[in-house]
């Protein structure tokens, strides 16, 4: 059993990796090699940062068995507030960047505290905060687009590259590694997983579920704020549409990556790989000049397929386990019976 689990996880990563390689090759051939050109690759990785970050943000709430519908709104508000502060109120651009993270963390903590204090389902709480934040975002920027020229030093970071890769992509990967390490090696990370897997068992083990929920929502908000910062740094301008289309891809990455919706599991590597797949679909859409609506359709279908397949596999395994149990049970029933007949025969 111990050997089997990593193997099955490994196979899922292999499928994802194969999908990415095949998808990249197909895109490369159909674009006549342009896809692998330096400019195209730069944009590919640059716009990969946000899917990775929002996937991670959602993954953390899923790990404790919650949802966060407000990720897009948190990212949007943080980017817009930073833009307004820098452009209208004359703050230092780097302070604006910091504000993104602070807003994200505060909004996430507010979600967590609301969930814990009111005991309302996380879905409804984040639906409500999402609506509130969308209103705030609209109030901040209205219909205008604030140009990135106002924060040139930060925008320079958005265009900078480290070892041939965009700096913001590297930042996203660093965040992913940190999240992975936190779940693997810190007590808090293990507590989150324990709460998500079985909260009664977690309570009995002396873990505070309330603390886990608050931390998970706070961390989710902080990473959503990071995604807001990435948008702030890399987009040519910030307006009220920032974060508007994050909802589906935030769920797509962790679910395709193998995170269970019922809590208790994380898959950082899987989430990052799945974010690659999501980004590839988007690139393919641009390459074949399809309507943006098609991305929604394809990703919606892929999510359904992944979850249904995982469910089927689970069913098959539980049937197999049931058959094994049945065989053991019949063996146990038959064994004394056989001993009895043997004794009878002996006495005769």
């Amino acid at each position: 059993m111990k050997l089997k689990l990593p193997a099955s996880l490994g196979s899922q990563y292999l499928v994802l990796l194969a999908t990415i390689v095949i998808g990249a090759v197909v895109l490369g051939i159909s674009s006549g090699g342009n896809f692998f050109g330096p400019v195209s690759m730069q944009t590919f990785f640059q716009f990969l940062a946000v899917p990775i970050l929002i996937g991670l943000a959602q993954m953390i709430t899923l790990a404790v068995g919650q949802l966060n519908l407000a990720i897009g709104a948190i990212g949007g508000v943080s980017a817009c507030l930073a833009a307004v502060m820098v452009a209208d109120w004359g703050f230092n651009p780097w302070l604006g960047a910091l504000v993104c993270l602070v807003v994200g963390a505060v909004a996430g903590l507010a979600n967590g505290i609301l969930v814990v204090v009111t005991k309302i389902n996380g879905f409804i709480v984040t639906l409500a905060t999402m609506t509130v934040l969308l209103g705030v975002q609209y109030a901040l920027v209205n219909t205008r687009t604030i140009s990135a020229d106002n924060w040139k030093p930060v925008a320079a970071l958005g265009k900078a590259s480290v070892l041939g890769l965009p700096a913001i992509f590297v930042i996203a990967i660093v965040v992913a590694v940190l999240v992975g390490l936190a779940f693997k090696y810190t007590t808090t990370g293990r507590h989150l997983l324990a709460s998500g897997d079985n909260e009664h068992a977690a309570t009995l083990a002396g873990i505070s579920n309330d603390r886990s929920l608050t931390i998970a929502h706070g961390a989710s908000g902080l990473i959503a704020g990071f995604a807001g910062f990435v948008s702030f740094a890399s987009l040519p301008g910030v307006n009220q549409s920032v974060g508007g289309d994050w909802l589906l891809s935030s769920f797509a990455a962790p679910i395709i990556g193998g995170v269970s919706l019922t809590g208790g599991t994380v898959a950082v590597f899987g989430t990052v790989l799945a974010a690659f797949v999501v980004r590839l679909v988007d690139s393919a859409r641009a390459e074949f000049q399809l309507a943006p609506a098609w991305v929604n359709l394809v990703i919606g279908a892929v999510i359904l397929g992944t979850v249904a397949l995982g469910r089927l596999r689970e069913n098959r395994e539980s049937t197999k386990a049931g058959m094994l149990r049945a065989r053991v049970a019949t063996h146990r029933i038959n064994a004394p019976h056989m001993a009895e007949t043997a004794a009878k025969e002996a006495s005769l």
């Binding site: 005991k119 409500a128 769920f251 919706l261």
Partner: protein, 372 residues
Amino acid sequence: MSNETSPAGAAKRRQGIDFKRYLTSPQFFLVLIIVVLVGIIGSAKPNAFNGAFVIAPLLTSVAIFTIVGLAQMMVLSIGQMNIAVGNMAAFGAMFTGLAFDLWKMPFIAGLLVGLVAGALIGALTGWIIAKTGVNSFIVTLAMSFALLGLIPTVYTTLSPGSAFTAKPEGMEFLGRGTFLDVCMAGYCGPAAIPVMVVPVLLVVLLVGGLYSKTKLGREILLTGANIKAAELSAIPTNKRVVLVHAISGALAAFAGILLATSTGSFTPAIGNEFMLQSFLGPILGGTLLAGGYISVTGTFLGITLALLIRRGLELFGAGIEMLNVFLGLILLVALSAERIRTVRRRKPAELPSETPPDQPADRQALSSGATA
């Protein structure tokens, strides 16, 4: 609409308690807030309740959104959710528009085409949930995005202006007519009440009757309350899940079509605002997210309250951003109040436990698809 049945004698003995319970019910609370709000708006803006120009549009939107709320309430009653409610509305309306514009169908036939399309897409969603056992949130989210991709594509390929504008006989009457147009024996009705109220009332009564009077309705509620118990009671839970999603799809489509008839054209934007409202109504009205308990009157009152607040804010000149902020805050405050109320009511009955009482239920709501 209360769903408690009890022997007549016991009911009589408990009448005093029932009356008290009625006074503390969310429905009574909602009526109270609505009355107070109407009073405030009426006294601050005396001309706010001009029949034909304010009341009639308000009633029209209450009628439409009550159906949207019921579409969500159906799915909540089995402990699941329908994120795609707005997209299903757009899907049904798209077929009605197609029927009018391309197939030149009469009004009633086109309406039926739309309802059937809504029911089919709902049934497909329910079938996927029942067959795969995947969480309803994810299935309907994926479905919502699939439809979000499909619907504008169909509109742009089949109509020149991305909208179906054909108006068969009867559409104007249902969508924009008021009782002023209904004259009998030389007397015409008030201009404040739109014609749309009649079919909507009929549907509300049908849904209420389904839950309170029929065996099927009780089976649906039991499926939502405890799916394992329902299965052990020989209820075909998978069929009930499919049926509930089909009805939800049909109701959503009906709401979409009503909205289209009231605005006069079928566009891909129909249903954009349905999702939040669809949750607001039932939840304010006391329907449980975990399933097993519904309230049709509560849904209607919740929707009325949300729309009244909306209209009130508009009258006082609040912008669209403030509307969103307020709606979200109302949802939170109302739910917290509701939570305090239930906790207080439960206290004498059960010992305070370490774990919050609703957590297993929430968990069940999320994973009930998985146990199917």
